[in-house]
């Protein structure tokens, strides 16, 4: 094998001595620098600005009023009657989407682990929603599925002789949850199915021979095997879901009232609709803190994984 590869090299290369290559040589550092430098700037500069703005009075509509205000922006934000509900909405949205996508994704993945006819094509249909751009998916759901007159559900309800429901007006948060979960269940499904397919079948067969039923096999063999992948899905989805924006922008715009106003939407509306940079930045700092709590766990887990990669 090695000889074969060496043959592929141009003749005459063996005469030149190998350059000294040790860890941390200057060339290696040079190659790494651009990535590190731009990411460092990308992370530090805006974060520092957010932090700075959060302590000053800064409104684009009143540029004359400036100056250090200490924690006033935070105080104002925390006393804003929409702030705590927005945290609540964020948690409900993230929690519900996680529950639907992880439980649903696990069940569908187990189903698709069985060899049925046309499985490959059916699988393509299941993962499709993840590749639909968020603004398109929000409009499909708003106009064609949940619309109180022309939507798919309204049609089904009328067919059954029931009064159609105006989902986005009467159950706005659930509507948003369903459209976001529709995009993220396929993601969970895809990750969990990949993980399932790496499960050793011998273990399952041995359990089957010992007389274990499908439920016991699922609880004692499949689920423990999936636990790592489930943890990864939960953490990655949490990070993306914390910044859910396009779906709300396109479907409910935070309403009706403030019923679908999440932390992200609140920061957007304070900062880019009311142009109060100071208060919006205080909200941004809170969002970063929340995200960091999640990411500490994820980074820890990946760190263990990475150790394995280098030890290989």
């Amino acid at each position: 094998m090695t000889q074969h590869v060496l043959d592929a090299l141009p003749a005459g290369t063996s005469a030149t001595p190998a350059p000294a290559r040790r860890a941390g040589n200057p060339l290696a550092k040079l190659l790494l620098t651009p990535s590190v430098a731009v990411l460092f700037l990308w992370m530090i500069v805006p974060l520092a600005m957010t932090l700075y703005f959060s302590f000053i009075r800064y409104n684009l509509l009143n540029p004359d009023q400036t100056g250090f205000v200490g924690l006033d922006n935070y105080k104002y934000l925390l006393e804003d009657p929409t702030f705590w509900p927005s945290i609540g909405h964020t948690l409900v949205l993230i929690g519900s989407v996680l529950a639907i996508s992880v439980i649903g994704g696990t069940l569908v993945a187990v189903l698709f682990d069985q060899p049925f006819a046309g499985r490959g094509i059916a699988r393509l249909l299941v993962i499709a929603p993840f590749f639909v751009m968020p603004t398109v998916s929000a409009l499909i759901w708003k106009n064609m599925v949940l619309h109180p007159v022309y939507g798919l559900w309204a049609g089904i309800f009328r067919h059954l002789g029931l009064q159609p429901i105006d989902w986005l007006a009467d159950y706005p948060m659930w509507s948003v949850i369903v459209m976001v979960a529709w995009q993220w269940l396929p993601f969970a499904f895809l990750i969990l199915l990949t993980s399932l397919q790496s499960l050793d079948t011998e273990q399952k067969e041995a359990a089957q021979l010992d007389g274990a039923g499908p439920v016991r096999i699922f609880v004692y063999i499949t689920l423990p095997h999936l636990s790592r992948a489930i943890a990864v899905v939960i953490m990655i989805e949490t990070i993306f879901l914390l910044s859910i924006f396009a779906e709300i922008f396109t479907s409910t715009a935070g309403g009706p009232g403030t019923e679908t106003t999440t932390l992200t939407w609140l920061i957007y509306s304070i900062g880019l609709q009311q142009f109060d940079i100071g208060i919006a930045s205080a909200g941004g700092v809170i969002a970063v803190v929340l995200a960091n709590i999640v990411s500490i766990f994820l980074v820890r887990m990946l760190a263990k994984n990475l150790k394995g990669e280098y030890d290989k």
Partner: protein, 271 residues
């Protein structure tokens, strides 16, 4: 005894039922795109297909301009990310310094910063630099948000190149360039190609920054489609035609890239 390779028939029926229910919304826009505006409001499957909506999408809006923006921004940012990421991944995989692990994890942690946490300063910086509603602005942002994924994916692919082969080549005196050109590139090219594919998909569908930083000039398809959300823009057939054109190519790429997506989105934790 049943064939162990075949699942019972009800499993197949259930699997297909689940697949069709999940796919239903996409199916609805796919058929509505070929209806007239009048037919679009009925859910009937029986209609005469027409390309009228597609014609109108092209005639009444600068649809091609939005497509162009999407293409420039997603392919351009993918190219830039890879150009910066590949050397870094090469360095981290083959010349890991004492801080290599920490560097990788730190890069990853930048990806975990919620976009909304830096929305305000990025908006103000873009505004003062004249990069608001500019393709260049979006290109820069997309390059930066995809860079950590690019480094990680390229790193995991480089890491799979058997070290023995490289060592053998080095002992044999291959220079760094020869090593890259004749050993590394051929073995990791499929991996790098799928990295590129994933980056294109992610930036094509990115909607947080595009909605906040672009309006008319630089708007990619995500922003153009969002403009259909106002009440006076309720033209379902046209909305469906425009959406179908925006979604279909990337859906095909996604289907091709599903395995790589798992790896890229989980930073190699699930393969």
């Amino acid at each position: 005894m049943n064939d162990p390779m075949k699942a019972p028939i009800w499993v197949g029926v259930l699997g297909w039922a689940v697949a069709l229910v999940i796919f239903m919304p996409i199916f609805i826009i796919a058929i509505t795109a070929f209806k007239t505006e009048q037919d679009a409001y009925t859910l009937s499957l029986f209609f005469t297909p027409t390309l009228q909506s597609f014609h109108e999408v092209f005639e009444r809006s600068h649809y091609l301009a939005f497509v162009t923006n999407s293409v420039i921004v997603s392919f351009g940012s993918t190219f830039l990310s890879l150009a910066i990421a590949i050397p870094a991944a090469y360095s981290l995989a083959f010349f890991p310094g004492p801080r290599a692990q920490k560097t990788l994890l730190w890069m990853l942690s930048t990806k975990m910063m919620p976009a909304v946490g830096v929305l305000i300063p990025i908006y103000l910086l873009a505004k003062s630099a004249g990069l608001l509603d500019s393709v260049t602005g979006l290109l820069i942002i997309y390059t930066l948000i995809n860079l950590p994924i690019a480094v990680w994916m390229a790193f995991t692919y480089f890491n799979e190149v058997p070290k023995e082969i490289l060592e053998a080549a080095r002992i044999d005196g291959a220079s760094a360039w020869q090593e890259m050109l004749h050993l590394l590139l051929p073995t990791s090219l499929p991996g790098l190609a799928s990295t590129a594919l994933l980056l294109v998909i992610l930036s094509w569908n990115e909607a947080f920054w595009s909605l906040n930083l672009s309006s008319s000039n630089a708007a990619p398809l995500t922003v153009f489609i969002a403009s259909y959300s106002n009440p006076e823009g309720l033209f379902w057939a046209k909305l469906s035609a425009a959406s179908l054109l925006a979604v279909a190519p990337i859906l095909c790429l996604g289907w091709i890239a599903q395995k790589q997506l798992v790896r890229g989105m989980t930073f190699g934790a699930v393969k």
